[in-house]
């Protein structure tokens, strides 16, 4: 029953407009600002135990097929190399990030990124990297590496990234 009955009976008092305070203190916790950044401060790649060496010489990314989280042979080969280096350099703790290309809905892609990170993690553990050093997270399609809307970019965005987050102390 939706009708208003009486003439000119005030039935509405507009409440004060909601006025949310714009800003807030958004402290960054942990390492949430880093995704995929190449060794930020141009660390010396010639030091074979450095993050820069791992990222540039070993390679910290592996790629996935369309809408797929099962590792293909080149992803496995890349993770084999990563595993060897990570075992030799036990001072690092590791976050594996899963990413998706833009061809998918946002939350599905977030979940797909989890699966990709998990696949990489499980493979590294199977190759002897301690699971205690490893964490995963997903960025879904939120952080593409390449920004064109074509398969050559999508192929690089469907990735997991093995991120070294400083030393175990």
């Amino acid at each position: 029953m939706r009708l208003i009955h009486l003439a000119f009976v005030p039935f509405l008092a507009l409440a004060a407009c909601t006025n949310p305070e714009g800003g807030f203190n958004g402290g960054l916790l942990g390492d949430s600002s880093s995704w995929d950044d190449p060794a930020a401060n141009a660390e010396d790649q010639s030091d074979p135990t450095s993050q820069a060496f791992f990222e540039k010489k070993i390679g910290n990314r592996v790629l996935f097929d369309v809408d797929e989280f099962i590792l293909n042979s080149s992803a496995k080969a890349g993770l084999d190399e990563q595993a060897r280096w990570l075992i030799d350099n036990p001072q690092y703790v590791i976050i594996i990030e899963g990413h998706a290309d833009e061809q998918g809905t946002r939350e599905y892609n977030l979940a797909l990124g989890f699966r990709r990170a998990q696949s990489a993690q499980e493979y590294l553990v199977a190759r002897g990297v301690s699971g205690l050093r490893l964490k995963t997270r997903s960025y879904g399609k939120e952080r593409p590496l390449e920004i064109c809307s074509a398969e050559r970019c999508y192929a690089k965005n469907r990735r997991s990234v093995t991120l070294l987050t400083g030393g175990l102390s």
Partner: protein
């Protein structure tokens, strides 16, 4: 041939039985083609000189709101024959009939030096030669002129179409800035027409898929604030927020309120696998609703709170499933070609809106709750994330353009698929969530 009368007919029964016989004022929908109803809104009359600017503003907003629905077409003032329509004097129906105006809205506006704003208005069915219902008076503040105008427009819309109101409502969304690979995102809230944007979070952390509560006071969303995606509850008035308690052993995302706001459903990831969970907000206790080695996400409650709809790729591709909240097996309802995602139950309960992906294109569509009568309402490179207007008549979603400079913006479309329109915000926006009509 389908013919729907959003009409004075039903309304007339309450007000004046005679109208039921001859109500000529109606919006006709025939096979998806709407014949908009023509209306005239002469400049609202100011009762005091200080009210003149506000009266002008309100009458323009009322007209703009009605036009934006796609169900109305305005007769411009330069075609008016009636030289003057004061609020008090009678309506000269032949003058309005002659220019084919089916509806007429007249109003007078008064302000006080204490900041009170009063609008009195009447709606006339020109071809029946009668006033539609009794006059209405709304009182408010001169600080809330736009809201007053939306309230007036809602009353006009409701009386003429028989549909529920939706203009005086707010929408939470994600405001975006920066390049595609370093995009900054923050939660924002705006009026239904894109005006009065206010930010609810900063842009230090990625935020995703906000959902406003049925009372408009709270927002659930996913944020990387802790470094990992987790779910947060935000108070719209204070912008205060807190993380909801989920185990640190996994990632939580995709949270949605129950209609009574006492519970939420969300996705929780553990060991790479995502399932649907139900949390009681008072006790913070969660119960698992699905357990399948598949991606189960994007849940949505039915308006009676007894069912959820969600997407799962358990069949091998993304499809839509419903299940009772009380338990029982999920039932697949989508069977067309392509992938189905982000199902959202209509506030009327009769339809489920979704994103459909296939052949490199994305569409927004609706289907009945058993999956039948699927209709696609849009298509583009990337359309995603539908949300329902509070009356279940309009769907808003995000459309993203392609390429290195690609960016999302918000669009709305009538559930007939007609009146697809961009919302002009001036900056990129995604993930809309439409709140209730304000009290």
């Amino acid at each position: 041939m389908r013919l729907i009368y959003f009409s004075v007919l039903a309304l007339g029964l309450f007000v004046n039985n005679a109208w039921a016989e001859n109500g000529s004022m109606r919006v006709k929908i025939s096979q998806g083609v709407i014949e908009p109803l023509t209306f005239a809104v002469p400049m609202f009359e100011a009762e005091n000189i200080e009210a003149a600017a506000i009266a002008t503003e309100i009458s323009r907003i009322v007209a703009t709101d009605l036009i934006s629905s796609g169900l109305f077409r305005e007769i411009p003032a330069n075609r008016f024959i009636a030289q003057r329509t004061t609020f008090a004097e009678g309506v000269r129906y032949p003058d309005w009939r002659a220019i084919n105006a089916q509806a007429l809205v007249t109003a007078s506006v008064r302000t006080t030096n204490t900041g009170r704003l009063t609008v009195k208005f009447r709606i006339f069915d020109i071809f029946s030669g009668v006033q539609l219902g009794s006059g209405i008076q709304l009182g408010g503040s001169t600080q809330a002129v736009r809201r007053m105008a939306h309230k007036v427009a809602d009353q006009v819309y409701e009386r003429i179409t028989g549909e529920g109101p939706y203009f005086d409502s707010k929408i939470v969304f994600v405001s975006e800035s920066g390049p595609k690979d370093k995009r900054l995102k923050r939660l924002a809230i705006m009026d239904f027409d894109g005006k009065n944007v206010q930010f609810l979070t900063g842009n230090e952390n990625i935020v995703m898929a906000p959902r406003i509560s049925t009372d408009g006071k709270q927002v659930l969303y996913t944020s990387w604030e802790s470094g990992f995606p987790q779910i947060y509850l935000l108070n719209v008035r204070t912008a205060g927020r807190k993380r909801l308690p989920t185990p640190d052993s996994g990632m939580a995302f995709s949270p949605r309120f129950s209609p009574d706001r006492k519970r939420i459903v969300y996705s929780f990831e553990q060991g790479g696998n995502s399932d649907i969970y139900l949390m009681d907000l008072a006790t913070a206790r969660s119960a698992r609703m699905t357990s399948s080695p598949s991606i189960d996400t994007a849940p949505s409650f039915s308006p009676d709170g007894r069912h959820i709809v969600f997407e799962s790729d358990r069949s091998g591709s993304q499809q839509i499933y419903t299940m009772p909240v009380a338990g029982d097996a999920p039932k697949r309802i989508s069977f067309g070609n392509g992938r189905y995602a982000t199902p959202v139950w209509s506030p009327r309960g009769d339809l489920i809106a979704f994103t459909k992906q296939g052949n490199g294109r994305f569409s927004i569509g609706v289907m009945r709750t058993d999956g039948s009568e699927e209709r696609l309402l849009s298509a583009s490179f990337l359309d995603e994330g539908p949300t329902w207007s509070p009356n279940g008549r309009v769907i808003m979603f995000a459309r993203e353009t392609q390429g290195p400079k690609g960016a999302p913006s918000l669009y709305s479309v009538d559930i007939t698929g007609r009146n697809l329109s961009p919302l002009n915000l001036g900056s990129p926006a995604s993930d809309p969530s439409w709140g209730p009509v304000q009290p």
